[in-house]
Point group: C2
DNA sequence: AATCAGCTGTGTATCGATACACAGATATTC
DNA sequence: GAATATCTGTGTATCGATACACAGCTGATT
């Protein structure tokens, strides 16, 4: 197929012979340049150049030395999420910064949601793993655990032997929920997926809640049970919203919940339109990301609703678009968290340091400033 | 340091012994499951599970088989650009899609702009390279060439033995330049960096042009010579803009040029403010990206200039923000180009198919619709 | 003068798998 | 019924480097 003649790889032994030194001298010249004299190093470099030696074979090096120079990143989502989802992108920017500082390459393991994802993980030539939010029952987590390599899980799930980095999502959700639900009568929530099935649709907080409309989408009937979500982040935020609404004397069954399968404003806009119309139209919506909240904002604008007059609204993450939109939100630096995950994975921190709760704070803006 | 006892890796031979089969049977059970009987495969899986065997050692596998299951991506920029620059991100999304389809991991090689970048490239355990726009004289290109692996360069430079994918940037720049410079009297250009020095600042098209202000920033005096830029994309676009302005009877020395060191609206806004004020204030600006153009737009708004009344403006790439802003732009799908690069790299296309010119088209919007 | 440490160079064993070639058993063909 | 093809299992050589231990030499230390 290829027009290129398959060039045979030049070996270290050939370079050694050409340079008139031993193989080990060549090896040291590459791996530990300080270990050899300037003269020997020069001879090696010259011979390598002349023969077209590209440097030590990475596979052979890693077989013998046990190190690869790669940090593996596993997303619970399709590989393209790394570049399509703004939250993942910010997180990975932090991971990338630390990788660059360490001279480590960043390997994105190609998960696609299929069972073979497990094989992709075990085949990955890496020194450590960083895992982006995954469902409690995702077999990929067990595969990572089985490799015995250092691994840091961001957002969940928690596992013995794996480090864990996350914010107190429940407390944060309670805080922002208090703000957005204050004075509300018909609260709504725009949620991330509940579990690996990633079903989306609109329903309400409790089963058999005749007072609320059935809603659309493939979500199973019976309402949303926060405790049943297998994504830790989703679960904790739903619990927090529930707590906040309960503080006002409300009941979870009164809360309408829309579940988006992706973190996109487009999908959010569709569901928000549903939440904002009909006899049970929400007058307060807590969204699990700023992207989702911006979708709500678009739907509200189209419906002629004013924010915060006709609708209060909150997001999450304090993305670039949040401030211009006046969006109340939970600020947490995903970039910092990515950096922290990468550092923890690469530095082999002691167990005591390995589990980290990261900071968050509420940013109160006009979108919740009810008159 | 680590609290974890360094678990010794279980070897394939141990699994073979425990399963009562030969090593090769185990190897086949993993690498070519169809090669062994269901019964043997079951025995192997059971033994592997029992012993905690994580699967074949990736390094050993790659040493013997010559394949790694990794596609390497090299950015001419710092590694974090992969996730910070919107253009790079879209390109990589396409690369990632193809990787996922092939079950290949995506390895980002950690370049930081230092001389050791060359080592990072030769150390990378990959089967092929995709290279994102690099300067003609970047030593990283030679290092990639030396590996003898298939490599595809996006945007330049061109090299024997390396495939090349790019749009006809000069023609596209001419087309959009015609549009934005039509009826203009004081044209300006907002450019990407000219070379690896990445100097930024404001100057004009020709040396010793007394008619124009000296400008700010560390750019060398003497004006901008399009032909001297070592980034192919920058060079071709500058030439195209020059061609377009020449068609109106204008001279390149009359064109004011601002060079941004990064593709960010923030930096663009600063330089645009300079281009848009003073006795030589531009009334038409061609920007090399939509991000830069949006920075111009912000500066114009602050200065009370109307677009297109007081200023015509063009961008590049047709990003999401371009349409809402009414921005005339050159549309090209970086995502498709990323996918094409990855496919070319992974499929070992024949030489004839290896150089690809990608499609582009002009999208004319209100930002150039001069009354 | 004797001892010791540091620097530089070398040879060999080894990392953990897969390519390859071969052999026996079973199914298929004429 | 003989010849041939297919399926399954095995043993050995080998991929290309680095860890390790050792040796000679130089200069410093006492």
């Amino acid at each position: 197929m290829s027009g290129r003649t398959a060039r045979r790889r030049v070996t270290m032994a050939e370079v050694a012979r050409a340079a008139g030194v031993s193989v080990m001298t060549v090896s040291y010249a590459y791996g530990q340049p300080g270990r050899v004299s300037d003269e020997a190093r020069a001879k090696v470099r010259e011979a390598a150049e002349r023969l077209g030696y590209p440097g030590p074979h990475p596979g052979a090096r890693s077989l013998r030395s046990g190190r690869t120079g790669n940090l593996g990143v596993v997303l619970g989502e399709h590989l393209t999420y790394a570049f399509d989802d703004p939250q993942a992108t910010r997180f990975l920017s932090g991971v990338a910064q630390v990788c660059a500082d360490h001279g480590m390459a960043l390997t994105l393991v190609p998960v696609t949601g299929s069972p073979s994802d497990v094989d992709r993980v075990t085949e990955a030539a890496v020194d450590a793993f960083v895992v982006w939010t995954t469902a409690d029952d995702d077999p990929v987590i067990d595969a990572i655990s089985a490799t015995g390599l250092p691994a840091v899980v961001h957002g969940g799930p928690r596992r013995d032997g794996l480090s864990f980095v996350a914010a107190d999502d429940r407390a944060a959700a309670t805080a922002v929920g208090r703000e957005v639900f204050a004075g509300a009568r018909r609260p709504g929530v725009l949620s991330f997926p509940l579990d690996r099935a990633r079903l989306s649709g609109v329903t309400s907080g409790a089963p058999l809640n005749d007072a609320l409309p059935a809603g659309s989408g493939p979500l199973p009937p019976g309402g949303i049970d926060p405790d049943a979500s297998t994504f830790r982040v989703t679960r904790q935020r739903l619990r927090g919203y529930r707590d906040a609404w309960a503080e006002t004397g409300g009941d979870w069954s009164q809360v309408r919940v829309a579940v988006c399968s992706t973190n996109s404003a487009r999908e959010a806009e569709t569901f928000a339109a549903e939440l904002l119309t009909g006899p049970y139209a929400c007058d307060a919506i807590a969204a699990m990301s700023d992207e989702l909240a911006l979708g709500v904002l678009r739907a509200a604008t189209r419906l002629g609703l004013t924010v915060p007059g006709g609708l209060t609204l909150s997001g999450w993450d304090d993305s670039d678009a949040a401030a211009p939109a006046g969006l109340t939100t939970v600020a947490q630096s995903l970039r910092d968290q990515g950096a922290r995950c990468a550092r923890t994975a690469l530095d082999h921190l002691t167990p005591a340091d390995r589990d980290t709760e990261v900071a968050w704070h509420l940013i109160s803006r006009t979108s919740t400033r009810r008159a």
